[in-house]
């Protein structure tokens, strides 16, 4: 595991966000180093996914700043944000596949739209990523024919097909059986180590953070209240960490 001592690539500075009367983030600050895998843990509905959405500019903070690779996402131009996002991958909770496109077309979509690669090269890359998530032979299936876990893995293949520098995983294990879930955890770990991908993983599974994370932050009431390596985390004597880990999530 890395020590996380490198250069910061994602930084949240006192980010606050409310949706109507519901305050989700209250001065959230965190930092992710280049090549590091940060896991964000916390109970359901406390803004873990909203944090990820801030990091890709899908949501703007009410106050505070989100800095990604020296770009302030509140002031970045639309064109620069588009270019920045081309270096990112994002796994949505439910996969977010385009329903009228086949599995292969879904995975190929960012390559078809944003590159000039030949069809054969795109097909090759798509097949490679589908194999990576253990979905060989599914190129022509349509999303309604897939189980929830398969959709998620297609979403993961799509997130990885452009070989991004930064990948955001929103609950990568939800809906997967334990075996596939563990293989996805190892895939995330392997990608991070082999390709030096920076990752943020939102999860509530301790089994996930033990495999994938270099560092863990525990979020509650809209801010980070505990931080450390996975080992430090599970050995923590902090009452709130102990209480969180005692809940039967895993």
């Amino acid at each position: 595991m890395k020590d996380g001592g490198g250069q910061s690539i994602i930084r949240f500075e006192e980010v606050s966000k409310a949706f109507g009367p519901k305050v989700v983030l209250r001065g959230m600050s965190l930092e992710v180093k280049r090549g590091e895998t940060l896991a964000i843990m916390g109970p359901s509905g406390i803004g873990k996914s909203v944090t990820l959405r801030h990091a890709v500019g899908l949501v703007q903070p009410d106050s505070g700043r989100v800095i990604v690779d020296d770009h302030d996402l509140s002031t970045i131009s639309r064109e620069d944000l588009r270019e920045l996002r081309k270096r990112m991958g994002y796994l949505f909770q439910e996969g977010a596949l385009i329903n009228w496109l086949s599995v292969g077309e879904n995975v190929a979509l960012p390559l078809r739209e944003n590159t000039d690669l030949a069809d054969e090269v795109i097909r090759e890359k798509v097949e490679e990523k589908l194999a990576l998530v253990q979905l060989r032979g599914t190129y022509d299936l349509m999303p309604p024919e897939l189980s929830g876990g398969m959709r998620k893995r297609v979403g993961l293949a799509r997130a990885l097909v452009t070989d991004p520098e930064i990948v955001f995983y929103d609950e990568p294990n939800t809906g997967l059986d334990p075996e596939i879930s563990m293989s996805i955890n190892h895939l995330i770990r392997d990608l991070a180590e082999r390709l030096q991908i920076t990752s943020i993983v939102v999860t509530h599974l301790v089994s996930c953070i033990l495999v994938v994370a270099d560092r863990v932050v525990l979020v509650d009431q809209g801010r980070v209240f505990a931080e450390g390596t996975p080992d430090e985390f599970i050995r923590s004597q902090d009452e709130r960490v102990v209480r969180f880990l005692a809940k039967p999530y895993d």
Binding site: L58, M88, A96, I98, E113, N114
Partner: protein
């Protein structure tokens, strides 16, 4: 307070629609890349509703012919029934009926489709993938409906006139040759702008505008949908309602523009 919120919401929605239209116009250069998606929309918005347009157009032509024919026959002018049916269909009934069918059948489907994409995070996924959703989703739908609506209007006008002729002959005793002669005579008024007769191009121009209006309103309703199935239902309802209202209002102003003395 609630009234002000509704008013504010209406202004925001109107602003979003205008902005969407401007963006679509700005991305017309992307059309060659999107020809496949436009063709898909032709199938969804054209072929799938063709039978409805033909059936309703034929029936409306019959009704117009019967209603006006009965009145004309009282004053001995039933020979002019072809003129009335042709002008009614070309100027008003064809464009209005076609756009109403498209709003109900295609606009609702567009709003539901994009609304479902919005609530299931597919639109967010497109954004994160750096795919321009206006170019990828909205442009093909607007272009397809802008072309389809006039094409379907021509068919609606034609079958309406045929339906009117059927009634003229069977119910009013007007010969088909006379009926079609009066139809053709009535559609000869030359226009200043195009080689098409004025009544035909005015109706087709209206249809072109209606097609754009339906597509923009339906797409914006879908994109702005929030809150699961309920939100998609609301988006679909507002798409059809707002499309038909705007079609009726614009119809008046365009009729006034084309036919003012």
């Amino acid at each position: 307070m609630a009234f002000l919120e509704i008013l504010n919401g209406a202004f925001v929605a109107a602003g979003y629609r205008v902005d969407l239209l401007v963006q679509v116009v700005g991305k017309l250069g992307h059309l060659p890349r999107r020809r496949g998606l436009v063709a898909d929309q032709f199938y969804v918005g054209g072929i799938k509703v063709l039978h409805v347009v033909l059936l309703v157009g034929f029936s409306i032509g019959m009704v117009v012919s019967l209603q006006t024919g009965l009145e004309l026959s009282r004053i001995g002018q039933q020979d002019q029934i072809g003129t009335l049916v042709a002008l009614s269909m070309a100027r008003e009934m064809g464009p209005f009926i076609t756009s109403t069918i498209l709003a109900a059948a295609v606009g609702s489907a567009l709003a539901a489709e994009l609304g479902t994409m919005a609530v299931s995070e597919e639109l967010a996924a497109l954004e994160v993938l750096s795919i321009d959703r206006v170019s990828y989703l909205v442009l093909p739908r607007v272009v397809a409906l802008a072309i389809l609506c006039p094409m379907l209007t021509i068919l609606c006008d034609t079958v309406g006139i045929i339906g009117g002729g059927f009634v003229a002959r069977s119910q009013l005793g007007v010969g088909l040759a006379l009926y079609y002669d009066t139809v053709i005579d009535s559609l000869q008024t030359p226009s200043k702008l195009f080689s098409l007769p004025k009544d035909v191009y005015a109706g087709l121009f209206k249809s072109f505008v209606f097609g754009i209006v339906i597509a923009i309103i339906s797409c914006s309703a879908g994109i702005l949908a929030r809150g699961g199935a309920l939100g998609v239902g609301n988006a679909t309802r507002s798409a059809v309602r707002d499309s038909i209202i705007l079609v009726i209002i614009l119809n008046y102003f365009m009729t006034w523009y084309f036919y003012q003395q």
